[in-house]
């Protein structure tokens, strides 16, 4: 009994499936919500940067060098291009092709490792210390914020890849891969405004 009321059966749910893909899946909404939280964090960090930039007569202040365009350009190109295998991966998830999903995740892991390498060199060429002035602090804040997302996403992808190769893959795990791939798209999209703000806005001002 539910409480003290008499129950009246009006239907049965036993015939429903036990998993779903995309927005039908409950976990997809959790993933989207976390993107909303972190997207808000990115937006506010960008807002803080624009605020400080607006308060300062010169950006960067006189004496500070501009950040290098070489490694950052390579990172950005590689990051944007990584969306292609990522989209391919999402298609394999939809097609439930386990072998290709495993392969796609392995490729994404390797791409993630390469990106971290590029990011490492990129960070050597920001040409300002975080403790030098508010400009330096802001540049480093944006970079650390984005790098932490690349690292988190890489670890998640790598762990999931190991799991996928060693276990029987069910529909729920395909859902996990899709969420992981969606999150990768988010990490790419978040980088675009930050890249412009860190590397190009100081040159245009």
């Amino acid at each position: 009994m539910n409480g003290e009321r008499a129950l009246r059966r009006v239907g049965d749910l036993a015939g429903l499936p036990t998993s779903a893909q995309g927005p039908r899946n409950l976990v997809w909404w959790g993933n989207i919500s976390f993107m909303a939280i972190e997207g808000t964090g990115f937006a506010l960090a960008i807002g803080a940067c624009l605020y400080l930039l607006g308060q300062s007569p010169h950006w960067p202040p006189p004496g500070d060098s501009l950040p290098g365009l070489g490694w950052s350009g390579a990172f950005t190109l590689a990051l944007v291009l990584s969306e292609l295998p990522n989209l391919w991966l999402i298609r394999q998830v939809r097609a439930k092709s386990i072998a290709r999903v495993r392969l796609g995740m392995l490729v994404m892991t390797l791409i993630g490792i390469a990106l971290i390498g590029l990011r490492w060199f990129e960070l050597q060429h920001l040409n300002v210390g975080w403790d030098h002035d508010a400009y330096g602090s802001t540049v480093w804040m944006l970079m650390v914020l984005h790098t932490s997302h690349v690292v988190t996403e890489l670890v998640e992808t790598a762990v999931l890849t190991v799991w996928l190769y060693t276990h029987e893959v069910g529909d729920d795990q395909l859902g996990d891969v899709e969420d992981d791939a969606d999150y990768w798209t988010f990490v790419i999209l978040a980088w675009v405004p930050i890249y412009l703000l860190v590397y190009w806005v100081p040159r245009w001002l």
Partner: protein, 626 residues
């Protein structure tokens, strides 16, 4: 459901006995109850701090506290009330009520709920353990730089405050994501958005506001910690930083926060008014629209906390107008509640008394809010006791009174017992009377020019009598709080058995047993109206949810059409371990920046083990078992 199936269902949803069961539970009711018990303990501590401060101010030239002790007392009181009580208790009420009101067996992400509580407890300990050791933040509840920066606040007091924020905000964000996903995707068949009870709308709006407001404070306090720990220059004017940036970010969070506390209270009040007026809410649709309007407008008001810092005039004018605009949806709600009671057959049990206390008190707080929304008047009143009076009328009257009403209303559901009505009325009179006696005089003190955050004042100021009255009022309210808590504790043993639906209420939680079993409902209720239990004498249900594994029903976002049966995860120690690891990282990071790097490793390991799916070893692919 056959007796066999029923037994299996109980076994599948039961927690293990003993310590492991205690630490690993993912039962939303147990988790929410922990939140609430923690909050009650903190309310007592925070109330004692308030009494301590009131005694100090009860007469001129009192010497029982020095300025440092006084600074610590109001900083600890404010931080506890805002960050450790008001927001978490609203999350807790959502965690407890939302699945029951949806006829669901658990939250969308059960382990995330457990993680949320353990991290919240970490935040409580972060503030109160150092206090027990004599290290207490002393810069108020909003710790503005440059005072909180490295130059003026050496030591770790400011770090403790800033990191306590990180704990509680991560906990609140985790809870909010859970509430949003549960409300959007786990409504019972038939509960379209149009038939969703108002309480769930309130919790949905409050949770969405949390998602968009809390990152601001986390970012601001992280920047403050970075300034203090690794010498960044965000708030250092000499190096191009700006102290007002902190205020902007703090209040971009801080003003929505007031509504994150108030909006759930609107939900409590609406539920109580509906049940005790014995009719559905007057103006349900305008009420929903007004709460959505509040959710949006609340993000456009923050600068009214900064009128005195010297911003451009045009900005002040805009924020004055926006601040007054939000009084419109809030006023509309008042009229809807009054119309519901007027046109219904009201029964003045304790929960409805609290609603009436709320309306009277909150209207006063709202009016003093409209006054302080005006930039020229605010310049006179800011940092005086008028603001202390206003904020307590809004927060105590607007959030805690509805919370006490909600506590009395849902207590029988949670415990299976009725609270004593007589002692309920005594507590109500003591708290509402004592509160108004204690805080109304502060309006006058503020108008007479008494500044807030002073530890004493001279006899020639003429503020002694009103301060003594304020102290007496606060003590009466505190006594009322003890009566309320005592009533709740004694009723656990002595209360009359409540039955499933003691108030004759319309929403689904009253169809479950009191207290509800761990799986809440055996079958999935089907909803055909906004007040489902008033529509039919019996309960239409759908069968077919598994009894041999933890399963919940997932439905579509708008129309709540059943989509699939979702496997709901069971108890696990990993959320507790992950919270421990996160706590360790947070605490260590006020001493060394490397804690963020090395501390991430145990957190990562705990999260991997938390989410590691248990399935058979692969029979295909290069790493297959052969």
């Amino acid at each position: 459901m056959s007796p066999d199936e029923r037994e299996r269902l109980h076994a599948v949803w039961a927690d293990r006995p003993g310590l492991l069961g205690f630490l690993g539970t993912v039962d939303h009711k147990r988790i929410a109850a922990r939140y609430i018990v923690t909050v009650v303990g903190l309310l007592f501590l925070s109330g004692m701090l308030a009494i301590d401060m009131r005694l100090q101010l009860s007469q001129p030239d009192m010497r029982r506290m020095g300025p440092q002790q006084y600074n610590e007392a109001f900083a600890l009181h404010g931080s506890t009330m805002l960050f450790l009580i008001s927001v978490p208790v609203m999350e807790a009420m959502a965690l407890w009520l939302v699945p029951l009101m949806l006829g669901a067996r658990n939250m969308a992400f059960p382990r995330l709920a457990a993680f949320s509580y353990w991290l919240y407890l970490g935040g409580v300990l972060m503030l109160w353990l150092p206090h027990a050791l004599g290290i207490t933040p002393d810069l108020g509840w909003f710790e503005y730089p440059p005072l909180s920066g490295p130059a003026y606040s050496p030591g770790h007091r400011a770090d403790i405050w800033a990191q306590m924020i990180t704990f509680t905000e991560v906990a609140a964000l985790a809870a909010s994501v859970n509430v949003v996903a549960t409300i959007l995707k786990m409504r019972p068949p038939g509960m379209t958005l149009a038939r969703m009870p108002f309480f769930l709308w309130a919790m949905l709006v409050a949770s969405l506001m949390t998602i968009f407001a809390l990152p601001a404070i986390m970012l601001a306090t992280s920047m403050l910690i970075a300034d203090r720990l690794v010498s960044t220059q965000f708030f250092a004017p000499a190096a191009g930083g700006d102290v007002l940036l902190f205020q902007h970010m703090f209040w971009f969070f801080g003003h929505p926060e007031v509504y994150i506390i108030f909006v759930p209270a609107v939900g409590f009040v609406s539920s109580i008014v509906e049940t005790f007026s014995r009719r559905t809410l007057f103006g349900h649709v305008p009420m929903v629209l007004s709460i959505l309007a509040i959710g949006v407008l609340a993000f456009g008001l923050w600068v009214h906390h900064m009128f005195a810092v010297g911003l451009p005039r045009l900005g002040n004018d805009f924020y004055t107008a926006a601040s007054m605009a939000i009084a419109l949806p809030a006023g509309l709600q008042m009229f809807c509640w009054i119309a519901t009671m007027w046109s219904g057959r009201p029964r003045f049990a304790t929960p409805l008394l609290w609603v009436i206390g709320f309306i009277a008190t909150f209207v006063i707080g709202g009016l003093s809010g409209v006054m302080t929304a005006s930039a020229p008047l605010d310049l006179q009143l800011t940092d005086t006791y008028f603001v202390v009076a206003h904020l307590h009328y809004v927060l105590i009257g607007g959030a805690l009174f509805p919370l006490f009403g909600a506590f009395c209303y849902w207590y029988p559901k949670a415990t299976g017992r009725m609270m004593s009505e007589r002692w309920g009325v005594v507590a109500f009179i003591l708290i509402v009377g004592g509160f108004n006696l204690g805080f109304f005089p502060m309006h006058v003190l503020g108008l007479e020019g008494m500044p807030r955050r002073i530890y004493t004042y001279g006899p020639d100021m003429g503020w002694g009598t009103l301060n003594l009255v304020a102290t007496i009022g606060s003590a009466i309210a505190m006594l009322g709080g003890i009566v309320l808590t005592g009533n709740a504790l004694i009723s656990l043993w002595r209360g009359k058995p409540a039955g499933a639906d003691p108030w004759g209420a319309p929403t689904l939680e009253w169809a479950a047993r009191s207290p509800p079993p761990q799986h809440n409902f055996e079958e999935v209720p089907v909803v055909t109206s906004i007040a489902p239990l008033w529509r039919h004498g019996d309960l239409p249900v759908m069968t077919g949810l598994a009894t041999d594994r933890r399963e919940v029903l997932v439905t579509s976002v708008i129309d709540a059409v059943p989509q699939y049966r979702h496997h709901s995860v069971g108890p696990s120690l990993w959320p507790f371990v992950a919270a421990l690891a996160t706590s360790g990282m947070f605490v260590a990071s006020i001493f060394t920046p490397w804690a963020v790097v090395w501390g991430a490793i145990p957190i990562g390991v705990a999260l991997v083990l938390w989410f590691w799916p248990r399935r058979p070893r692969s029979a295909t692919g290069p790493l297959a078992r052969r």
